[in-house]
Symmetry: C2
Subunit: 323 residues, 2 copies
């Protein structure tokens, strides 16, 4: 048992939160993680209210939470003003916000009694999250799969830890990015985190909503086969703010366009259609597989519960080695 | 006492090696680190035989080693064929090679009885180092100060560890990049490393050969104030191979040229002269301060021995917390 302020705050058994990965983190994965003793989050990114309802349904009675892409939530609320209210009406255990200023949404989340978890990618974000009243701050490094920025987990976590110790000692810190097994969990604890957010390793689970071809591509890949790029966002016509890129497996699409964004933009309609069709069909040479540098540490697609159990057992073992 | 295969192989007290930082890691720093129980390395990069001789002299009788930039050593040997022999004649405890294929130099180093330490930045490099007969492999992440590539310490260390476990179980693994205190040392051990290579934190020591203005700039900076770039290498007319960049503090020079390398190349003579003059005078708005993302974790310039002692004591404490 690894008991931390995170496990006590959330009343969970293991200090592990599943990342609310867009499209991949549905109710089945979130429920499996919560039922295994962690906190599972439904990926409300690019929110589609019907999908979110469906996935909360799929989670059944498991105590799960939900995550949003903050800048995108602002756009979504223009079209569907009740999208956040509908999620909060489900009494989610936690609301996870990343990639934008959480301040506009924090009061409503606090009022609903959900724990506000804010993921940050640099020190300015961390201060913004504290100003908004985050109860948990997740320091996310660039080795993570999917969206993020440039700082590494190894340095961002202790730098945020020092800031919290000086300015907000009651706020709980988690680490994200590069954590796929018990070694990563134990390392994150040593850096000063009291929990971890796991994306790629739980993306590579049986419960994740991922095309089997993408799972296979990740199993065949190593950490050197990933790249941070914007070409997928251009292909998907997503207006990510400056400074954010996503880590994916390199493929023919990134080989062609990563170094030629103007060329891609000039041919955006056709290339977007081609990428989206490949995403649907699981053609991983054109559509990109969203997985982090830990691709090199993932060798099988397991049930989420086994992943959590193995991670905790391995971390407990590592933490004894030098004690 | 943190005893590992590294401390036993090198017969040292603490699993800490000082990075052979070009120009900053002279004999005084190397000796201080070795005398404090680690292994100190003189920075033989861009080798100047007179400087190396002088710094071995400054190290006195302390058992130190020496490091080279591998691709640059090849060029230097064209001009000064005895540069490696002269260092090996000093019976250095270890020879540290990074940034290039170590194979051409490995036999001579083994013959001299020095431990061959190879720093690697990706899996291909790791396999190359094993082929050359490296006894210690250092997995270096991109959060490091100075030169490197793109992988993060958090994922590269366990991925190399898995490779060594399967293919070269006698080779000892160290971590570099993002390690500035006991938290980083403890985290590296959890990831599977049996020692660490510390650059920036020992660069910020009283014994390092660093302009005081650069120390002050690093103390004032956080991790978000660094950038990986090539502009300093263009300014210094160094022919670093593709794929390598150096992490430094952002300043007016990187602001101006990082996004406009063709512009810098077009004005290379004048800009090079300006940068080199600024380096000499300690003008940190033009010359760049070579420090890693751990700039945000460094708050003082201490004697190297105090840095090592604090790092070990803090790591020992962290390693008890969850045991």
């Amino acid at each position: 048992m690894i008991s931390t302020r995170l496990t006590r705050l959330l009343d969970i058994q293991h200090p592990i939160i599943s990342a609310p990965m867009a499209s991949a983190a549905g109710g089945a994965l979130a429920a499996a993680v919560s039922n295994a003793g962690g906190l599972g989050l439904i990926g409300g990114a690019y929110p589609n209210p019907d999908w979110i309802e469906q996935e909360f349904g799929a989670a059944g009675n498991a105590p799960v939470g939900c995550g949003f892409i903050t800048w995108n939530l602002a756009e979504a609320l223009q079209r569907q003003p009740d999208i956040l209210d509908a999620v909060l009406a489900r009494s989610p255990k936690a609301l996870f916000l990343s990639f934008g200023d959480p301040a506009p949404y924090a009061p409503k989340i606090h009022e609903a009694g959900s724990v506000l978890i804010c993921q940050v990618q640099n020190m300015d974000h961390a201060k913004q999250a504290l100003d908004a009243g985050a109860q948990v701050i997740v320091a996310q490094g660039a080795e993570a799969g999917g969206h993020g920025r440039r700082r590494a987990t190894m340095t961002l976590v202790p730098e945020v830890a020092d800031h919290l110790a000086a300015h907000a000692p009651d706020v709980v810190l988690c680490a994200a990015g590069g954590i796929a097994d018990g070694r990563g969990l134990a390392a994150a604890l040593m850096l000063g985190a009291e929990g971890v957010v796991v994306g790629s390793r739980l993306w590579a689970s049986q419960e994740a909503l991922v095309h089997p071809n993408m799972h296979q591509a990740a199993l065949a890949a190593g950490g050197d086969d990933t790249i941070r790029s914007s070409v997928m966002d251009i292909a998907r016509k997503l207006n990510w703010p400056d400074g954010y890129t996503a880590r994916v497996l390199k493929n023919a699409f990134t080989d062609k366009w990563h170094g030629d964004l103007p060329g891609l933009l000039a041919d955006a309609e056709a290339e977007s259609a081609r990428w989206m069709a490949a995403w649907q069909s699981g053609d991983t040479t054109t559509a990109n597989t969203f997985v982090g540098e830990v691709a090199g540490l993932i060798n099988d697609i397991q049930p989420a519960a086994a992943i959590i159990e193995n991670m905790v057992a391995e971390a407990e073992g590592r933490l004894q080695v030098y004690a």
